[in-house]
């Protein structure tokens, strides 16, 4: 260990900068890892961890900054070059060929061959290479002939690590490696990391879970908003302090919080997952569900909306109860925004108008007919209201920017005029301006309108300073304005500042278990992160 500390770094990144358009993802980040060291890279979503690792692995080129591998300049042009240089990434999503055997996967792309250009694979060498790699892992029990698809997720991950070892890696990056593993497998993975460390590998360990970071790493580096926010030895730093470094920022002026009064209960969810607290969603409030990636939030929402079967528990929407299909949920006044905008949320090849009106075509023509002109008119209305930047409603959504695409997806719920908006990561991957508009919109949907203002706009010529005169008609208008179609929003996010900014109540989901919803005033970013990363439980 003493020797390792004295050794020069295996790899070093200095002043790495990367911008995507106007968004600066990395602003001069430094990172160095020595051989025989496990360095934990921590930070909130969007802090720049993935971008940094994409640069290290050659998937992205930095705008500025230097990189060194074993003291020599290192600038991979593509991932294969990085892999040849000895930098291996193990991603959350496994990148194995499921139909091939374990040994074929281990040597994939580096198959030993003979007969020159004929490139006949030497099956004997394939086997010895694979067996050697598995032994290095300390897992000779994995049969080299087994088909990868038949292995457990934990064993598949081992095969992937074995592939990294077989290619002679010197730097190993593990990105959220425990997200698909059970308790015992996590323990065994940690033993393996310890073993690889002793063999002299330099390991970067990315995780949201502070307890894991504490258990497995020697040192931690915190990123925040694309900058280094702190570093230190893991053993002598409290979990609290690490979380503090990750958070470190005040909630900005991005969020609005109008006059909200909770009304009747619109949605009630009980016992969807064992051990979870029940919750109710009322008209005129935004209920947030905080949780990290893989905590089970998306599964919860999909169950509520009927996209996935509900195995246990009960969902009631107003007077309706019991399981329902997405078709039924729309009819009951519930609409959902998918977290997977390109894969599920929008049909990229269809027009804005078709996407926007997709859930509610009736009313856009007589009977079962749909009038394209009425479809366009409905779309134009929301394009104007949400300031969606486009040329016309017949453009395909694929041509729009991420933020504008998301506004189309949100506009679908508004066009349908649902009472309950179920939003899964509505601001993921969109620009700040669009984010601000979506926050503002959510607030408008639930907040009690300012009666005076409603009347002033209603009464033409009414001065802005002076309240309108008291008449019977005006007072009735004021009364209806107050109860006019307020909505309820169920918001899932892994970006805690926005939850704290827009929600009335927040419940935290961690490892498949939803905690009780508490008033937003009882939370702060620190406590949310502690709860969500399981630091409090340990």
């Amino acid at each position: 260990m003493v020797e390792a500390v004295a050794a020069p770094p295996r790899f070093e990144m200095r002043g790495v900068r990367k911008a995507f358009g106007a968004t600066v993802a990395l602003d001069g980040v430094d990172l160095a890892v020595r051989p025989g060291e496990v360095c934990a890279l921590v930070g909130q979503n969007g802090a720049g961890k993935s971008t940094l690792m994409a640069i290290l692995s050659g998937a992205l080129a930095p705008d500025a900054g230097e990189m060194f591998l074993e003291g020599a300049p290192y600038a991979p042009r593509h991932p294969l070059e990085a892999r040849r240089a000895g930098v291996a990434m193990i991603y959350q999503e496994l990148s194995l060929a499921p139909h091939l055997s374990v040994m074929e996967n281990i040597v994939l792309g580096l198959e030993p061959t003979r007969f020159g250009p004929l490139a006949v694979v030497r099956r004997d060498r394939v086997r010895t290479t694979a067996v050697a790699a598995l032994e290095e892992l300390g897992r000779p029990d994995i049969p080299p002939d087994a088909i990868v698809a038949e292995l457990s997720p934990a064993a598949q991950q081992l095969v992937e690590i074995a592939r990294a070892l077989a290619s002679g890696c010197r730097v190993l990056v593990l990105d959220e490696p425990t997200s698909s593993l059970g308790h015992d497998d996590v323990r065994r993975l940690f033993e393996l990391i310890e073993r690889l460390k002793r063999q002299g590998h330099a390991i970067v360990y990315i995780s949201h879970f502070i307890e894991e970071v504490k258990a497995v790493s020697d040192r931690f580096v915190v990123l925040r908003d694309g900058r280094n926010a702190g570093a230190g030895p893991t053993a002598t730093t409290a979990a609290d302090a690490i979380v503090g470094l990750m958070v470190g920022r005040e909630v900005g002026e991005l969020y609005r919080h109008g006059n909200r009064i909770a009304g009747d209960t619109l949605l009630k969810v009980e016992g969807m997952t064992p051990g979870s607290a029940p919750f109710e969603l009322r008209r005129g409030e935004i209920l947030g569900i905080a949780g990290l990636l893989g905590a089970g939030r998306t599964e919860l929402l999909r169950g509520i909306f009927g996209l996935d079967p509900v195995r246990s528990g009960r969902v009631s929407v107003g007077v309706y109860s019991g399981p329902a299909s997405p078709h039924d949920r729309w009819k009951q006044g519930v609409g959902m925004l998918s977290e997977d905008r390109a894969g599920e949320g929008l049909a990229m090849g269809l027009s804005i108008a078709d996407n926007l009106t997709g859930s509610r075509l009736h009313g856009l023509g007589p009977g079962f007919l749909v009038s394209p002109a009425k479809q366009d008119a409905a779309a134009m209305r929301w394009i104007g209201r949400l300031a969606i930047r486009c040329d016309n409603p017949r453009q395909t959504v694929a041509e729009l920017s991420g933020g504008n695409q998301q506004k189309v997806a949100v506009a679908r719920l508004l066009h349908h005029d649902v009472d309950v908006l179920v939003l899964d990561e509505p601001t993921r991957g969109i620009d700040v301006a669009s984010k601000a508009q979506i926050y503002q919109l959510m607030d408008q949907l639930v907040a009690q309108p300012d009666v005076g203002r409603v009347l002033r706009t209603r009464l033409q010529g009414g001065s802005k300073e002076q309240d309108p005169p008291y008449t019977r008609e005006n007072s009735e208008a004021a009364l209806t304005a107050g109860t006019e179609k307020r909505k309820a929003v169920l918001l899932v996010s892994s970006y805690f500042p926005e939850l704290l900014g827009v929600c009335d109540r927040i419940a935290v989901m961690s490892r498949g278990i939803l905690g009780p919803a508490r008033d937003v005033s009882e939370w702060n970013e620190h406590s949310l992160l502690m709860e969500a990363s399981g630091a409090r439980a340990s």
Binding site: D340, E344, G349, L350, L361, F368, V370
Partner: protein, 328 residues
């Protein structure tokens, strides 16, 4: 301000989009014109004379009717390989019904119903077993062919002559009116085109074909739509079978082998995408017409069957390659 910008912008660009959509279908129409011109130049003016055009229309009517259903299926991202077999089953059912003394209208209805039953089976298997349409309809292609042969006892079925035999024949009084079968095809084409464009069902088919997960998220009843589209497609194939019977005057369980490939080719030449979400009736009809022009042109030039097949094959690949190139 934002709104004003959006509205202003739309005026100018709407024209661009409609022009692009025009190009989408115009590609295949131009192709049709080019093919017709080439053969017209080679054969002479008699090639485009009314009688010859009618001959082509008659030749292509059967493929067209089946291709209308296939267009809907392909728009929804599916495929139906069983249409050829359904056509043969339908000819057998029509002939059997006529022989047993049923009226021509009832017999025709029976042929269509036989198709619809096959389509319902396709739809139920695809939605309930969650097996991909290619496999399911590959299976029912053999299954239905077998059923047709069993029903006909592996023989041609003779039936009394009725007005059904005149469906694709020009009226005797020689007033130049098209045969009833062609009118029927045109009316159905308009109906299917309107369905795809202006009904909720049609829009849902495009949504399913474009992105099935999005359609599900939007509350589209996917199973219902798929069941309906396969049933409609097979019912249209049944009707194509009635027209085939009219041409043959017998029920023949071995007829229309490989017809599904002509039908799919018509849709694909017409701009349909096997990935779903794209396709139009105008394109499909033009695609079918291109194939008919090649077929009749080649035979009138005295070219042999093999030349015709090579030309058709080239056109299919060229049409799709051109389309992909234009998409870029």
């Amino acid at each position: 301000m934002e709104r004003a910008l959006a509205v202003d912008g739309s005026v100018g660009r709407a024209r661009v989009v409609s022009r692009r959509r025009f190009l989408d279908e115009s590609g295949v129409l131009i192709g049709l014109a080019v093919v017709a011109l080439i053969f017209g130049a080679l054969i002479g003016p008699q090639f485009v004379r009314a009688a010859n055009l009618e001959l082509m229309a008659r030749q292509t009517a059967i493929v067209c009717v089946a291709a209308l259903g296939m267009t809907m299926v392909i728009v929804s991202g599916g495929i139906d390989l069983s249409v050829g077999s359904i056509v043969s089953l339908s000819t057998v059912v029509v002939a059997l019904l006529l022989r047993s003394g049923a009226g021509p209208a009832a017999a025709a209805l029976g042929g269509v119903a036989a198709g619809a039953v096959c389509g319902t089976i396709n739809g139920v298997l695809i939605t309930q077993l969650r097996v991909v349409p290619f496999i399911v309809t590959l299976g029912t292609m053999l299954l239905v062919r077998g059923a047709a042969k069993g029903l006909a006892d592996e023989r041609r079925i003779e039936a009394p002559i009725t007005w059904l035999n005149d469906l694709l024949r020009t009226a005797q009084d020689g007033r130049g009116l098209l045969p009833a079968g062609i009118w029927l095809t045109l009316v159905l084409a308009v109906l299917v085109a309107l369905t795809l464009r202006y009904t909720r069902f049609g829009r849902h088919l495009f949504a399913i074909g474009s992105n099935e997960r999005t359609a599900r998220l939007c509350g589209v009843r996917i199973n219902w739509c798929k069941w309906a589209v396969y049933t409609i497609s097979a019912a249209l194939a049944g009707l194509a079978g009635v027209m085939e019977y009219s041409k043959l005057s017998v029920g023949d369980p071995t007829v229309a082998v490989g017809l599904e490939l002509d039908v799919i080719a018509a849709v694909i030449i017409g701009g349909g995408s096997l990935l779903g979400g794209r396709g139009s009736v105008v394109g499909t009809m033009a695609g079918a017409a291109i194939m008919a022009v090649i077929q009749i042109g080649c035979s009138q030039l005295g070219l042999q069957n093999w030349v015709q097949q090579i030309v058709t094959g080239t056109i299919i690949v060229a049409a799709v390659a051109l389309d992909r190139w234009r998409q870029r």
